[in-house]
């Protein structure tokens, strides 16, 4: 299966592991991630303002690219996923916004929300299947107690993300179980690490991130997994004393493709 892939700015720089292990693991599962040509940065956070149009065009162009090829659009980074899905939701449900976007897009042909967007975890659940994933696990992570950290961007707003129940999600825990490990259930798994506030107020980011780490550890976690480079950064900078690891890294480890240099 071939899908259009939007890596995003961070996966090409500070989060190269998130990208590399995503590509390798997908190949091992029979999915080829075809990087979108000339993709442009999503902007990191979705702007909710009705009159912000130009800032969402990079997402629309990525969506149109996938739609023109009749391929699902797959993202790994939580932020890209959030921005692109919210933009697609606005294209489908906000006629005035879609009309303004299509005035910019006249030369590219129109777009009206036809693309289907999948986060990498949704790709594993809905296109590959967690049962198939389970069968392909070569190195079971049995006995590891792992806390799934959703943060804010994967799930909210629930009506636009459509990924899982935003208050009681299971997708990341099911992913952990498919790899053979134990999923720790904890209260702050869908609370914010502080995000970009570490530019404005590092103390606030530290306070939020510490609360997240404390809560995961109190629930017995030995490791926190995330799909978001900024969550990983904030948790680590706040002095996390358990590993904070990308979802694709434990996936590659379990599939036995982590060290494959030929992939």
């Amino acid at each position: 299966m071939k899908v259009s892939y939007f890596p995003g700015c961070t996966l090409k720089n500070k989060a190269k592991d998130l990208d590399l292990y995503a590509l390798r693991s997908a190949e091992a599962l029979g999915v080829t991630l075809e990087e979108i040509e000339n993709w442009q940065c999503c902007g990191g956070v979705f702007t909710t303002a009705e009159d912000e149009v130009a800032t969402k065009l990079s997402s629309v162009r990525a969506l149109k690219y996938a739609s023109d090829r009749s391929q699902p659009l797959v993202t790994v980074c939580s932020a890209c996923h959030n921005v692109i899905k919210q933009t697609n939701y606005a294209m489908q449900n906000n006629k005035a916004f879609a009309d303004k976007v299509n005035r910019y897009m006249a030369e590219d042909g129109g777009y009206n929300g036809e693309a289907e967007v999948y986060h990498y975890l949704e790709m594993l659940r809905d296109l590959v299947g967690f049962d198939t994933l389970k069968e392909k696990v070569a190195n079971s992570l049995k006995g590891k107690k792992i806390a799934a950290y959703y943060g804010c961007l994967l799930l909210r707003p629930g009506k636009a993300m459509g990924m899982d129940d935003p208050e009681n999600p299971t997708i990341m825990e099911d992913f952990i179980r498919a790899l053979g490990a134990d999923a720790v259930i904890w209260a702050k798994r869908n609370e914010c690490c502080g995000g970009y506030i570490s530019v404005e107020s590092p103390e606030t980011a530290k306070k939020n991130s510490n609360a997240v780490i404390r809560n995961a550890k109190a629930a017995g976690a030995e490791m926190i997994i995330t799909a978001c480079p900024l969550c990983k950064y904030n948790l680590e900078k706040s002095g996390a004393d358990i590993p904070v690891v990308y979802i694709t890294e434990i996936l590659a480890e379990a599939l036995g493709v982590k060290e494959d240099t030929n992939a």
Binding site: Y196, T204, K232
Partner: protein, 129 residues
């Protein structure tokens, strides 16, 4: 500087949200991860926008404390979506000439070897026009 009613209507138009739906339950503020850092809390934003009390919000540091985590948007039982008002007021503030909160000159001191691009991109999207 602005006609109060005009400014109120403009903020509501930019936000795409309706403050009149609020039933004052305070759940937005209760769930806000930046509550302690804010002078005006999410439920106050909603009420002040509804009343046209925009100037104090335009000049408040609270505008830059919202994390865009969508918790208040998700959890509001009336679908008021308070963060949309914070966003609309913040944009109205930083869209004025010379009012950017973050400039390229601010970046070097906050960058370390691990800083993800996502952090800077997101901060510029929220603090700069």
């Amino acid at each position: 500087m602005h006609n109060t009613e005009y400014l109120r209507d403009e903020i509501i138009r930019i936000s795409g949200a309706n403050p009149a739906k609020c039933m004052r339950c305070g759940k937005c503020s209760a769930t806000c991860p930046a509550y302690d850092e804010m002078e005006y809390h999410p439920h106050q934003f909603v009420n002040m926008v509804e009343c046209g009390d925009i100037e104090p919000l335009l000049n408040s540091e609270s505008l830059y404390m919202c994390l865009s985590c969508f918790a208040c948007i998700e959890r509001c039982p009336r679908g008021v979506e308070p963060a949309k008002f914070v966003e609309a007021v913040r944009l109205t503030a930083i869209r004025q000439q010379g009012a950017n909160r973050l400039t390229a000159d601010n970046v070097p001191p906050i960058v370390d070897e691990d800083t993800p691009q996502q952090l800077l991109v997101s901060a510029f999207r929220k603090y700069t026009k």
